[in-house]
């Protein structure tokens, strides 16, 4: 039953054919069996999970406050604070950090009665696209254990793909949900920036970070997002507008809707197998009666430098609080004063990629370079937003690739940081623009999953789910399971 959807399990739970405790035990059993190979979890919360499952069963028995997520086991990316459960960001600096408070998303999932089975591996502080930049062993792709699951939410995507959870919470700063969803063959959404509260999410880029779920299909993703989205008085950047009931509009036909194909996303450099899977999906939408239009996002080529410059700048500041005084690693041997502790702790606690990005961020913000880098990037970011605004003037949703390739080999790209950055080319522009994007499996290339992304207007996740669901009604790529 580990491969079933939320919808299917919910039926079994409320008709009492299974209990949440049974389901949770099965998931924990599966984790014990398979995760030694996949290494998607950093922490498995056996005891807590069984406790939560028991409470979920009680809720179901009394038919009190039962939601579609009550009793459903889920995994959470290890950058989202969980009170009493270690939250590491896959960094040495937080290796034994146990938060004193819950993130808003954690609270919401608790309230819904979902069952946390563990915290998943990631690239350290979200910096990477392969889950290799981790203080823990690299997570493997369940479709091919010699390959990466993508990143930075690689642990969550791999856990879901390997049936080690029924849904998983990820976080997307520049593709960190969509790219691993694509590499692992699962569905995932990066919601509109500000749709889901970031309170308790350990910040990478405050103005890009978007928490979003991975699930077996668009319907399940819609269900989870309904429960975690919404205004939060603790996060000033969340939208006030109410969260729509996504699943109630998900079955609306897509006939006559306009699908935009951004021409800048279909240029040389894409693997042939990836390109043909994407083209096939476009044809599928044509068959569903959508109107296909080519559109232009003329500033796409600036997406990467804008994204990385702003990331470096904000991250360099967001990571300043890890100073070895109030929590986390503290290296104080032979320290003469507080500055020595900062220097030593941060040297020992952060990995190379994190160090690189913090230093480059300090550079981009420092006196004399601010205008040329940070400010320039913020201005070009406005142009990226305008690109999307004008594209959406003529279409309802955009369809684009997620990654030029399928999952690459472990160790293949770790040497050259710039090369790793360049592989994010298709996913990074959405985050500076703030728009939502849904990743869907759309085929295979040399036995590895290929994904596509549907990009929507601000706050128009409903349309993304509708269009994604329509595709999944006529295809079964999302139902394929890895040979694990």
């Amino acid at each position: 039953m580990n491969h079933l959807t939320i919808q299917e399990l919910r039926q079994l739970l409320i008709t009492k054919q299974i209990s949440s405790v049974e389901l949770t035990r099965a998931t924990l059993q599966r984790i014990r069996e398979a995760d030694a190979k996949v290494q998607s979890y950093v922490t498995v919360t056996d005891e807590l999970a069984l406790e939560q499952a028991k409470r979920a069963d009680e809720r179901i028995a009394k038919n009190e406050n039962v939601t579609p997520l009550t009793g459903i086991p889920f995994a959470m990316k290890d950058c989202i604070s969980t009170r009493g459960v270690r939250t590491t960001c896959s960094s040495k600096i937080l290796e034994s950090y146990i938060p004193q408070y819950d993130a808003t998303v954690t609270n919401k999932l608790n309230d819904a009665g979902a069952v946390l089975v563990g915290k998943t591996n990631m690239d350290e502080f979200g910096m990477g696209s392969s889950t290799e930049n981790s203080a823990f062993p690299a997570t493997k792709n369940p479709w091919d254990l010699t390959r990466v699951p993508g990143g930075s939410s690689g642990g969550s995507a791999a856990a879901l793909s390997a049936n080690l959870a029924t849904f998983a919470i990820g976080e997307d700063t520049g593709g960190s949900v969509r790219q691993p969803a694509s590499f692992c063959g699962v569905t995932g959404i990066k919601p509109t920036y500000g749709r889901v509260s970031r309170y308790g999410l350990i910040s990478l880029v405050s103005s890009f970070d978007s928490i979003g779920p991975f699930a077996r299909d668009a319907y399940d993703c819609a269900t989870v997002l309904e429960h975690i989205a919404g205004h939060d008085e603790k996060d000033s950047t969340t939208y006030q507008s109410p969260v729509p009931n996504y699943t109630s509009t998900i079955n609306k036909p897509v006939k006559g809707m306009k699908l935009g194909i951004p021409k800048e996303y279909f240029v040389a450099g894409m693997d042939a197998g990836v390109e043909s899977a994407i083209q096939e999906a476009i044809r599928q939408y044509e068959k569903l009666g959508m109107e296909i239009h080519e559109v232009s996002l003329p500033h796409t080529k600036y997406g990467l430098p804008v994204y990385y410059l702003l990331l470096f700048a904000e991250a360099s500041s967001n990571l300043a609080r890890f100073d070895g005084t109030r929590f986390g690693l503290s290296v104080s041997e032979n320290a003469k004063d507080a500055i020595d502790i900062y220097l030593q702790t941060r040297r020992a606690g952060f990995g190379d990629e994190v160090k690189r990005r913090m230093m480059l961020g300090a550079y981009a913000l420092s006196a004399g370079y601010y205008d040329a880098y940070y400010l320039k990037a913020q201005k070009v970011r406005t142009l990226l937003r305008r690109d999307f605004e004008s594209a959406f003037a003529s279409c309802d949703v955009l369809l684009a690739p997620i990654s030029p390739t399928t999952a690459f080999k472990i160790g293949e790209k770790t040497d050259d940081p710039l090369e790793m950055y360049l592989s994010d080319i298709y996913t990074v522009a959405t985050n500076p623009a703030g728009v939502p994007a849904l990743a869907l499996p759309c085929g295979f290339s040399k036995d590895m999953p290929v994904g596509l992304q549907l990009i929507g207007k601000h706050l128009d996740e409903a349309t993304l789910f509708q269009v994604g669901h329509a595709y999944q009604q006529v295809t079964d790529w999302h139902k394929k399971l890895p040979p694990l």
Binding site: S316, S317, R321, R326, A367
Partner: protein
């Protein structure tokens, strides 16, 4: 020829805003009455991973109020920014502040200063009016409190995140006196607005002075130094004075002043270099991405403007024109809002002149407050009773001396002045016949003193009047007594 120098002084004033909660979280801002360290804390103000700031509405209103009181323009679009540096009292590794777009900019404050700076050795002369430009007023958060032990420090986050206002002037002051007047006036305004208690001993108001010197007549701005953490007016004037003299000595010796941050060592009376912070002086400001911009409408700004009370300058002018007080009397009464309010309350209940009310407040009342270490707000003497007492002296119902007795009684135990006068039998004797009787008796009893008086020792008049006062236990109307005594003495001259 030896050059004469003039100082160029700019000031930063940091004042905590009187809010209930902190700037970016809902913890109590009242760290001064916290019973223990680290009891007003949460993930936000201790900088825990994942915690996010949410701005305090009241603090933004108070900041705008101060901006308007200092004649600033309010920036309708203003933003928060991060000031990045590491220090044990700064939990996030950055301070949330305002940088490019502060809440208020381009204001001014009129101050007075001696025409001739003391430094030139000309002594005190006439004062001139000087307009000091206020560059900006911005909101930021206070740091945690560090208590330094021998080899380590203890951190208390109760103060971390308390809202602070920073008021930055242009370097427009040319004398230490002007700087003193500027800070005094700003403190009074902050207290008038109710945004800051002005309690400098508690550290709710702190100054930083930027000081440079240049030859008189020159318009150049030379290298300046920044003296931090000046916690009293005395420290401000001493530190500025010291720094001016130090810089002049450097120039006179042919040296160069280096730009640096200085501390003030109050015990030794010297400024000291604080090089440790200098190192990381590149604060890498950028817009705070966790906080959306503040967009202030005209209607909002107007609603804040309507809350502006009458400020010290305007009140002073009104006291002069409406009540006929002298500028120095009016300035004294308006130096504190509570004092001005008390004065007006007494005056409104009294039939005596404003001058009479002023002299009672400046005299007896201030003496009593100083002696008992009370503030005017703690005073139980009602304006009605005080007014009645003043009127009784004006109408000569009691003598000045008796009035003081009554006043002390009222401050101590309250009560109605008429009642006290009755109980203590203090009513002034103004009955001419009665006083005449007493005067005649005294004159009859002291022939030798009368002889001496007539021989030219006219100072004895006071002695005679004193005898009459003694005989009436101070109740005799002194003016009348004196008049009758003088008449009697003259009559006996032949």
């Amino acid at each position: 020829m030896k050059l004469t120098y003039e100082p160029v002084i700019g000031l930063e004033i940091h004042g905590e805003l009187l809010t209930n909660s902190k700037m970016f979280c809902s913890c109590s801002a009242d760290y001064a009455s916290a019973p223990e360290p680290n009891v007003n804390i949460c993930p936000v103000c201790t900088g825990l991973p994942g915690a996010l700031p949410v701005a305090n509405k009241k603090a933004t209103e108070l900041a705008a109020l101060v901006g308007l009181a200092l004649n600033c323009s309010i920036n309708k679009h203003n933003t928060f920014a991060r000031k990045n540096y590491f220090y044990p009292d700064l939990p996030k590794g950055y301070q949330i502040s305002q940088y490019e777009l502060p809440i208020a900019e381009r204001g001014w404050m009129d101050v007075t200063s001696p025409l001739t700076p003391l430094l030139l050795g000309e002594g005190l002369g006439a004062r001139e009016q000087l307009r000091v430009r206020v560059r900006r007023v911005h909101i930021e958060e206070d740091t945690a409190k560090l208590s330094h032990e021998k080899n380590y420090a203890l951190v208390d986050f109760n103060r971390a995140g308390v809202p602070l206002l920073e008021i930055v002037s242009e370097p427009d002051m040319r004398t230490v006196e002007a700087a003193l007047d500027y800070t005094t006036k700003i403190r009074a305004i902050l207290r008038y607005l109710g945004v800051n208690s002005g309690d400098m001993e508690k550290g709710v108001l702190r100054f930083e002075a930027n000081v440079s010197v240049r030859p008189v007549g020159s318009e150049e701005l030379r290298t300046r130094t920044e003296i931090k953490n000046l916690n009293s007016f005395r420290a401000l004037t001493r530190a500025a004075q010291y720094e001016i003299e130090r810089q002049i000595k450097i120039y006179e010796a042919g040296g160069e002043v280096i730009q640096e941050t200085l501390g003030w060592d109050d015990a030794r009376g010297v400024t000291t270099s604080q090089r440790s912070k200098e190192d990381a002086h590149d604060y890498r400001y950028f817009p705070e991405p966790d906080l959306p911009p503040l967009k202030l409408s005209d209607a909002w700004i107007d609603s804040i403007r309507k809350r502006l009370p009458e400020l010290p300058e305007a009140k002073t002018s009104r006291f002069i024109s409406d009540f006929g007080l002298t500028p120095s009397e009016a300035r004294f009464l308006t130096s504190e809002l509570s004092l001005a309010n008390y004065f007006e309350a007494v005056l409104s209940k009294s039939k005596s002149s404003a001058k009479a009310v002023h002299s009672w407040i400046a005299g007896e009342l201030m003496r009593t407050l100083n002696e008992s270490n009370l503030s005017i707000d703690e005073l139980t003497l009602s304006p009605e009773s005080f007014a009645k007492l003043i009127d009784m002296t004006t109408n000569k119902i009691i003598s000045g001396n008796s009035a003081k007795v009554v006043f002390n009684e009222m401050v101590k135990a309250g009560g109605d002045p008429e009642q006290i006068v009755k109980e203590k039998n203090l009513a002034q004797v103004s009955d001419e016949n009665l006083i005449q009787e007493i005067v005649t008796k005294i004159l009859d009893d002291n022939p030798s003193e009368i002889e001496k008086y007539h021989a030219g020792k006219e100072t004895l008049l006071q002695w005679f009047v004193g005898q009459a006062a003694r005989a009436t236990k101070g109740k005799a109307d002194p003016a009348l007594t004196k008049e009758l005594m003088l008449k009697g003495l003259e009559e006996r001259r032949k």
